[in-house]
């Protein structure tokens, strides 16, 4: 009896990858590569680099799938965070050695690139994420420009709090406060269902 991989959930695909099923990896690639590529390209800005990062991400998925906590059932968050971390790291290294002081290694990858999801995270998959993306966009636009910009610098530019503070010439505490308020507001707007 053949398995229809397109019918499998994201988490099921990851579980099959854990069992070294290469067809599951292919199905995961078919499903996620557009989103991850778009995210990665937005971060690194260059098509060739984005393609390489995407290759690296799927190699990491295959090699280090055991780092995925199956109990979370949240493949979406794990994959997006992984791709984002890898892309940000690549972008920082492309900027020059001073931007990233740690040498890239398997240990570094395990520590800084592989996502550390909360064990108490809700399930989320690509299908669900795509179904609520309108709400997210709408909610994001409700934030102040400053809040949006701080989130943009942090998430897409990969700047740390201190780097954002230096770039905007504002105290680090202000950056921390803006990040916190922006995320809390986002969460509340979403919970209220885009009222």
């Amino acid at each position: 009896m053949s398995i229809n991989y397109t019918d499998l959930s994201d988490a099921d695909l990851l579980r099959r990858i854990t069992a070294r099923d290469s067809r599951a990896l292919e199905a995961l690639y078919n499903r996620y590569s557009p989103l991850l590529y778009t995210l990665v390209k937005k971060i690194v800005g260059d098509q060739a680099a984005a393609e390489q990062v995407l290759v690296d991400v799927f190699v990491i998925i295959w090699q280090k799938i055991k780092a995925f906590d199956e109990r979370t059932n949240n493949a979406y968050c794990w994959l997006v965070t992984l791709a984002r971390n890898k892309a940000v790291d690549t972008a920082r290294r492309m900027k020059g050695a001073s931007a990233e002081k740690y040498e890239y290694s398997s240990d570094y990858e395990n520590y800084f690139i592989l996502p550390r999801l909360s064990p108490d995270i809700d399930e989320l998959d690509l299908k669900t994420a795509m179904s609520i993306k309108g709400n997210i966009e709408e909610t994001l636009h409700k934030l102040t420009d400053a809040q949006q910009y701080v989130i943009y610098l942090a998430f897409y530019e990969g700047l740390t709090q201190n780097e954002i503070a230096s770039k905007l010439n504002i105290p680090v505490q202000t950056v921390k406060s803006k990040i916190k308020i922006a995320l809390v507001n986002l969460k509340e707007y979403l919970l209220r269902g885009g009222e």
């Binding site: 053949s2 069992a19 070294r20 099923d21 290469s22 067809r23 990896l25 292919e26 690639y29 590569s33 557009p34 989103l35 590529y37 778009t38 995210l39 937005k42 984005a50 393609e51 995407l54 290759v55 190699v59 295959w62 090699q63 949240n74 979406y76 968050c77 997006v80 965070t81 984002r84 971390n85 740690y102 520590y111 800084f112 996502p115 550390r116 999801l117 909360s118 064990p119 108490d120 995270i121 809700d122 989320l124 994420a129 795509m130 609520i132 993306k133 966009e137 994001l140 989130i151 610098l153 942090a154 998430f155 990969g158 740390t160 709090q161 201190n162 990040i179 916190k180 995320l183 969460k187």
Partner: protein, 463 residues
Amino acid sequence: MADNQKDFQNFIYPFSLGCLDKEDFVSMVEYIEAGGDFPWQELGELQNLTALLPSFLNIESPQASVKDRVARTLYKLKSEKVQDKKTVPAKVITKTGVYGGQAPQMPVRAQDRVPGSAPHIKQETDNQAQSPRRTPDQSRPSQSTQVKRRVNQTIPDREHYSTEQEELESQIPGELHLNLAPEAETQSTDTGMHLSIPDEPVAEVAPVVTDQPAATSPQDEFVIDMGGQQELQSVDLTLQSDGSVAGTETPAKVFEEQSASRQPDEEAQTDQPIIIQKRGGVSPVIFYLLILLIIAGVGYLYYTFNQRLEQLEKLQKESISVIRGEIANTASVDRDVMLLLSKKETKIYLLSGTPKYPGSFGKIIYSDEEQRGYIQLGSMPEIQGNEQKVYKAWVVIGGRNVPLNTPENEKLDYEFVRIFNMPDISQNPVTEFLVTKQAVDDSKNPSNDVILRGEYLMPGAKK
């Protein structure tokens, strides 16, 4: 502590957004791993929220070749892993010989761990040999026993003592040792001298030593101190002209034991008695040394053997893990091939060996609809390790050579290997397939060394 906890709880916002400075990130991870209290649910919500941020970007797809690159990279890594697996055991065995070399990865040298190791034993030996506690009564039997032994000694015993003495000489430098002759006119095995012990004691002791056996004179007498606290016999030995020494036992008072490291001529000038080391007192030392050596040796062997066992066990586990992965992957490929074969539109292209390679064969299984396929090769000629060549599959379509991008470092024999970059041949009247053997870095055109050839004619098409 409470402030610290509050700080970490505030970290969850930048942590979920991925903008914590690395030092703070490390602190936070350490805090989490130490089992610190944490608002996990809130962190989970924020992580989901952050992951949703890219969902409303204008999605664009990567080029089709990126998928191939992923697959090729994984194949390449797999091959490298298999190669590593094959080479690792040899390296490890070389480094961890049980008897020979010291394993570089050993954190502590064996000799540092075993109490009775060689340096310690040497030190103990030196200490014992020079110890002031090694008094004559402790190391020697009574005078009567000595005399009795001298009278009854046989040559084999003497040889035994000589061996012990040689060992001691190597351990206690600078101390002069002489062999006691068990009977008159017995040749010393290690000095070349003859010891002559007259039955009657000599009243007067005249200690004279010479180092030239040929220059013998009546006063060339040789006094050997037997030591001992009780009344002892001293042996007067006279060096004869032929190199022999005439000796006499005589009662004597206690002689002070001392080192006799001087040369014989010096002895003659200073009239100092020469001390004979009591061989019977040496045996326990040697015995203890041997015991210590054996204990040290056994300890060292046990330690190195244990290390070796641990490493072999680790290697075995790694190998099992790799093999499990390979089995799972092979099973996955087999399932996929079966799935492809069950599709109606899947085609099988047969490849036959060229006249140069008549025994070789192969087949390509490909689904145009799924754009997926595999190649299987059999009885391929062996590629020598130093050839720097690989098999390569090609599709010749409209005079254009398209490599199928099979993994270049696979041996391919009888395995189903995924093919990439298959052009659309469904509309092409004549398509030719080639498998060549060619240089690793030559991937633009097929070489002349064609091993397999196949052909596909569109239904109704003529060649």
